[in-house]
Subunit: 103 residues, 2 copies
DNA sequence: GAATCACATAAGCGCGTGCTTATGTGTTAT
DNA sequence: ATAACACATAAGCACGCGCTTATGTGATTC
Protein backbone atom coordinates (compact mmCIF):
# COMPACT_ATOMS: atom_id res chain seq x y z
CA UNK A 1 0.00 0.00 0.00
CA UNK A 2 2.66 2.47 1.07
CA UNK A 3 4.72 0.98 -1.69
CA UNK A 4 2.03 1.60 -4.29
CA UNK A 5 1.84 5.25 -3.27
CA UNK A 6 5.51 5.98 -3.60
CA UNK A 7 5.74 4.03 -6.84
CA UNK A 8 2.81 5.99 -8.20
CA UNK A 9 4.47 9.28 -7.28
CA UNK A 10 7.79 8.22 -8.72
CA UNK A 11 6.59 9.09 -12.21
CA UNK A 12 6.68 12.81 -13.11
CA UNK A 13 3.74 12.52 -15.48
CA UNK A 14 1.62 11.04 -12.72
CA UNK A 15 2.63 13.79 -10.31
CA UNK A 16 1.64 16.33 -12.95
CA UNK A 17 -1.76 14.70 -13.29
CA UNK A 18 -2.16 14.68 -9.55
CA UNK A 19 -1.25 18.34 -9.37
CA UNK A 20 -3.86 19.15 -11.99
CA UNK A 21 -6.47 17.31 -9.96
CA UNK A 22 -5.54 19.38 -6.94
CA UNK A 23 -7.33 22.31 -8.62
CA UNK A 24 -10.54 20.34 -8.74
CA UNK A 25 -12.21 17.26 -10.12
CA UNK A 26 -11.77 16.62 -13.80
CA UNK A 27 -12.54 13.94 -16.34
CA UNK A 28 -9.84 12.07 -18.23
CA UNK A 29 -10.22 14.05 -21.44
CA UNK A 30 -9.87 17.39 -19.71
CA UNK A 31 -6.83 16.12 -17.91
CA UNK A 32 -5.18 15.33 -21.22
CA UNK A 33 -5.45 18.91 -22.47
CA UNK A 34 -2.03 20.45 -22.82
CA UNK A 35 -0.26 17.34 -21.60
CA UNK A 36 0.87 15.68 -24.82
CA UNK A 37 -0.09 12.24 -23.65
CA UNK A 38 -2.07 9.53 -25.41
CA UNK A 39 -5.50 8.51 -24.19
CA UNK A 40 -4.42 5.01 -23.11
CA UNK A 41 -1.42 6.41 -21.30
CA UNK A 42 -3.65 8.75 -19.33
CA UNK A 43 -6.02 5.92 -18.53
CA UNK A 44 -3.15 3.77 -17.29
CA UNK A 45 -1.71 6.53 -15.15
CA UNK A 46 -5.08 7.23 -13.59
CA UNK A 47 -5.48 3.55 -12.87
CA UNK A 48 -2.18 3.52 -11.01
CA UNK A 49 -3.12 6.63 -9.03
CA UNK A 50 -6.45 5.09 -8.10
CA UNK A 51 -4.89 1.86 -6.92
CA UNK A 52 -2.54 3.89 -4.76
CA UNK A 53 -5.53 5.68 -3.25
CA UNK A 54 -4.14 9.01 -4.36
CA UNK A 55 -7.09 9.55 -6.68
CA UNK A 56 -10.62 8.28 -6.79
CA UNK A 57 -13.06 8.09 -9.67
CA UNK A 58 -16.76 8.51 -10.19
CA UNK A 59 -18.77 7.79 -13.32
CA UNK A 60 -20.81 10.63 -14.76
CA UNK A 61 -22.58 9.46 -17.86
CA UNK A 62 -20.00 8.49 -20.39
CA UNK A 63 -17.41 10.59 -18.61
CA UNK A 64 -15.42 9.55 -15.57
CA UNK A 65 -14.51 12.24 -13.10
CA UNK A 66 -11.36 11.98 -11.08
CA UNK A 67 -10.46 13.76 -7.88
CA UNK A 68 -7.79 13.76 -5.20
CA UNK A 69 -8.33 11.06 -2.60
CA UNK A 70 -7.38 12.30 0.89
CA UNK A 71 -6.56 8.75 1.97
CA UNK A 72 -3.37 8.68 -0.05
CA UNK A 73 -2.24 12.05 1.23
CA UNK A 74 -2.93 10.92 4.77
CA UNK A 75 -0.68 7.93 4.25
CA UNK A 76 2.15 10.11 3.06
CA UNK A 77 1.64 12.48 5.94
CA UNK A 78 1.79 9.58 8.35
CA UNK A 79 4.95 8.30 6.75
CA UNK A 80 6.49 11.75 6.94
CA UNK A 81 5.44 12.16 10.55
CA UNK A 82 7.68 9.24 11.52
CA UNK A 83 10.70 11.37 10.71
CA UNK A 84 9.49 14.51 12.35
CA UNK A 85 12.52 14.58 14.59
CA UNK A 86 14.61 15.39 11.53
CA UNK A 87 12.56 18.19 10.08
CA UNK A 88 14.31 21.51 9.89
CA UNK A 89 13.50 23.55 12.95
CA UNK A 90 12.20 26.57 11.11
CA UNK A 91 10.42 27.05 7.85
CA UNK A 92 13.05 29.61 6.90
CA UNK A 93 15.48 26.81 6.32
CA UNK A 94 12.98 25.18 4.04
CA UNK A 95 12.49 28.32 2.01
CA UNK A 96 16.21 28.78 1.66
CA UNK A 97 16.50 25.23 0.47
CA UNK A 98 13.85 25.72 -2.15
CA UNK A 99 15.53 28.84 -3.43
CA UNK A 100 18.76 26.92 -3.77
CA UNK A 101 17.08 24.31 -5.85
CA UNK A 102 15.57 26.77 -8.28
CA UNK A 103 18.87 27.72 -9.78
CA UNK B 1 15.23 17.04 -7.65
CA UNK B 2 11.69 16.36 -6.51
CA UNK B 3 11.78 13.56 -9.01
CA UNK B 4 14.91 12.06 -7.51
CA UNK B 5 13.30 12.01 -4.08
CA UNK B 6 10.19 10.18 -5.11
CA UNK B 7 12.13 7.76 -7.27
CA UNK B 8 14.43 7.08 -4.36
CA UNK B 9 11.49 6.35 -2.07
CA UNK B 10 9.78 4.16 -4.64
CA UNK B 11 12.01 1.26 -3.69
CA UNK B 12 11.02 -0.60 -0.49
CA UNK B 13 14.58 -1.57 0.30
CA UNK B 14 15.62 2.07 0.21
CA UNK B 15 12.75 3.06 2.46
CA UNK B 16 13.83 0.35 4.89
CA UNK B 17 17.37 1.73 4.90
CA UNK B 18 16.03 5.21 5.46
CA UNK B 19 13.89 4.01 8.33
CA UNK B 20 16.92 2.40 9.93
CA UNK B 21 18.80 5.65 9.66
CA UNK B 22 15.97 7.43 11.41
CA UNK B 23 17.12 5.76 14.62
CA UNK B 24 20.52 7.34 14.28
CA UNK B 25 23.62 7.60 12.14
CA UNK B 26 25.11 4.35 11.00
CA UNK B 27 27.84 3.13 8.67
CA UNK B 28 27.12 1.01 5.62
CA UNK B 29 28.17 -2.27 7.21
CA UNK B 30 25.94 -1.79 10.22
CA UNK B 31 23.07 -0.95 7.93
CA UNK B 32 23.49 -4.26 6.13
CA UNK B 33 23.00 -6.28 9.32
CA UNK B 34 19.78 -8.26 9.12
CA UNK B 35 18.91 -6.91 5.73
CA UNK B 36 20.01 -9.73 3.39
CA UNK B 37 21.49 -7.36 0.87
CA UNK B 38 24.86 -7.44 -0.86
CA UNK B 39 27.49 -4.83 -0.14
CA UNK B 40 27.37 -3.26 -3.61
CA UNK B 41 23.59 -3.13 -3.50
CA UNK B 42 23.72 -1.26 -0.21
CA UNK B 43 26.30 1.13 -1.58
CA UNK B 44 24.17 1.82 -4.64
CA UNK B 45 21.05 2.38 -2.59
CA UNK B 46 22.87 4.80 -0.31
CA UNK B 47 24.18 6.62 -3.34
CA UNK B 48 20.65 7.09 -4.64
CA UNK B 49 19.43 8.30 -1.25
CA UNK B 50 22.30 10.76 -1.04
CA UNK B 51 21.65 12.17 -4.48
CA UNK B 52 18.03 12.67 -3.50
CA UNK B 53 19.17 14.58 -0.41
CA UNK B 54 17.35 12.13 1.81
CA UNK B 55 20.61 10.99 3.36
CA UNK B 56 24.02 12.52 3.79
CA UNK B 57 27.38 10.90 4.39
CA UNK B 58 30.50 11.65 6.36
CA UNK B 59 33.78 9.82 6.27
CA UNK B 60 35.08 8.45 9.53
CA UNK B 61 38.37 6.70 8.94
CA UNK B 62 37.71 3.77 6.69
CA UNK B 63 34.06 3.84 7.60
CA UNK B 64 31.42 6.10 6.11
CA UNK B 65 28.62 7.21 8.37
CA UNK B 66 25.22 7.94 6.96
CA UNK B 67 22.42 9.93 8.48
CA UNK B 68 19.04 11.36 7.58
CA UNK B 69 19.28 14.64 5.67
CA UNK B 70 16.51 17.03 6.71
CA UNK B 71 16.63 18.71 3.31
CA UNK B 72 14.94 15.78 1.61
CA UNK B 73 12.24 15.56 4.24
CA UNK B 74 11.64 19.28 3.92
CA UNK B 75 11.08 18.87 0.22
CA UNK B 76 8.51 16.16 0.77
CA UNK B 77 6.79 18.23 3.42
CA UNK B 78 6.69 21.12 1.02
CA UNK B 79 5.25 18.95 -1.73
CA UNK B 80 2.63 17.64 0.65
CA UNK B 81 1.75 21.14 1.76
CA UNK B 82 0.55 21.97 -1.74
CA UNK B 83 -2.34 19.58 -1.23
CA UNK B 84 -3.20 20.72 2.23
CA UNK B 85 -6.73 21.53 1.16
CA UNK B 86 -7.34 17.81 0.72
CA UNK B 87 -5.94 16.55 3.98
CA UNK B 88 -8.45 14.77 6.16
CA UNK B 89 -9.54 17.07 8.95
CA UNK B 90 -8.89 14.89 11.94
CA UNK B 91 -5.63 13.04 11.97
CA UNK B 92 -3.25 13.71 14.80
CA UNK B 93 -0.18 13.20 12.70
CA UNK B 94 -1.46 15.76 10.28
CA UNK B 95 -2.20 18.22 13.03
CA UNK B 96 1.33 17.93 14.24
CA UNK B 97 2.55 18.39 10.71
CA UNK B 98 0.46 21.49 10.30
CA UNK B 99 1.69 23.02 13.50
CA UNK B 100 5.29 22.61 12.50
CA UNK B 101 4.78 24.08 9.08
CA UNK B 102 2.73 27.02 10.15
CA UNK B 103 4.68 28.52 12.97
C1' DG C 1 54.89 -2.11 2.19
C1' DA C 2 51.77 -5.83 2.19
C1' DA C 3 47.68 -7.47 3.72
C1' DT C 4 43.17 -6.41 5.20
C1' DC C 5 39.16 -3.93 5.81
C1' DA C 6 35.16 -0.66 4.37
C1' DC C 7 33.19 1.04 0.70
C1' DA C 8 32.64 2.55 -4.39
C1' DT C 9 32.40 1.61 -9.19
C1' DA C 10 31.97 -1.25 -13.55
C1' DA C 11 29.65 -4.35 -16.42
C1' DG C 12 26.09 -7.34 -17.40
C1' DC C 13 21.50 -9.40 -16.77
C1' DG C 14 16.43 -10.20 -15.76
C1' DC C 15 12.49 -7.84 -15.03
C1' DG C 16 9.29 -4.10 -14.36
C1' DT C 17 7.66 0.32 -16.22
C1' DG C 18 5.67 3.50 -19.46
C1' DC C 19 4.84 4.12 -23.95
C1' DT C 20 2.65 2.83 -28.37
C1' DT C 21 -1.18 0.83 -31.61
C1' DA C 22 -5.18 -1.89 -31.76
C1' DT C 23 -9.32 -3.35 -29.89
C1' DG C 24 -12.98 -3.80 -26.27
C1' DT C 25 -16.69 -1.80 -23.17
C1' DG C 26 -20.12 1.30 -21.79
C1' DT C 27 -22.87 5.55 -22.63
C1' DT C 28 -25.19 9.03 -25.48
C1' DA C 29 -27.21 10.77 -29.75
C1' DT C 30 -29.68 10.40 -34.00
C1' DA D 1 -30.24 -0.02 -34.48
C1' DT D 2 -26.21 2.48 -35.64
C1' DA D 3 -22.91 5.76 -35.15
C1' DA D 4 -20.09 8.51 -32.27
C1' DC D 5 -18.00 9.41 -28.05
C1' DA D 6 -15.28 8.58 -23.46
C1' DC D 7 -12.68 5.54 -21.46
C1' DA D 8 -10.48 0.75 -20.42
C1' DT D 9 -7.80 -3.14 -21.68
C1' DA D 10 -4.50 -6.03 -24.55
C1' DA D 11 -0.20 -6.83 -26.58
C1' DG D 12 4.26 -5.57 -27.82
C1' DC D 13 8.45 -2.89 -27.36
C1' DA D 14 12.33 0.21 -25.67
C1' DC D 15 14.25 1.66 -21.70
C1' DG D 16 15.40 2.02 -16.76
C1' DC D 17 15.98 -0.20 -12.39
C1' DG D 18 17.91 -3.24 -8.98
C1' DC D 19 20.48 -7.07 -8.59
C1' DT D 20 24.72 -9.80 -9.25
C1' DT D 21 29.98 -10.73 -9.72
C1' DA D 22 34.28 -8.64 -10.38
C1' DT D 23 37.37 -5.07 -9.64
C1' DG D 24 38.89 -0.44 -7.98
C1' DT D 25 39.86 3.07 -4.24
C1' DG D 26 41.10 4.72 0.40
C1' DA D 27 42.18 3.93 5.02
C1' DT D 28 44.09 0.99 8.73
C1' DT D 29 47.03 -2.59 10.73
C1' DC D 30 50.89 -5.44 11.20
Amino acid sequence: MENEIFKALADPTRRAIFEKLAFGRMNASSLREGMDISQPAMSQHLSVLCQAKLVRQERDGRYVNYEVDPDGLALIANWLAKYRAYWPARIDALKALLKDMDQ
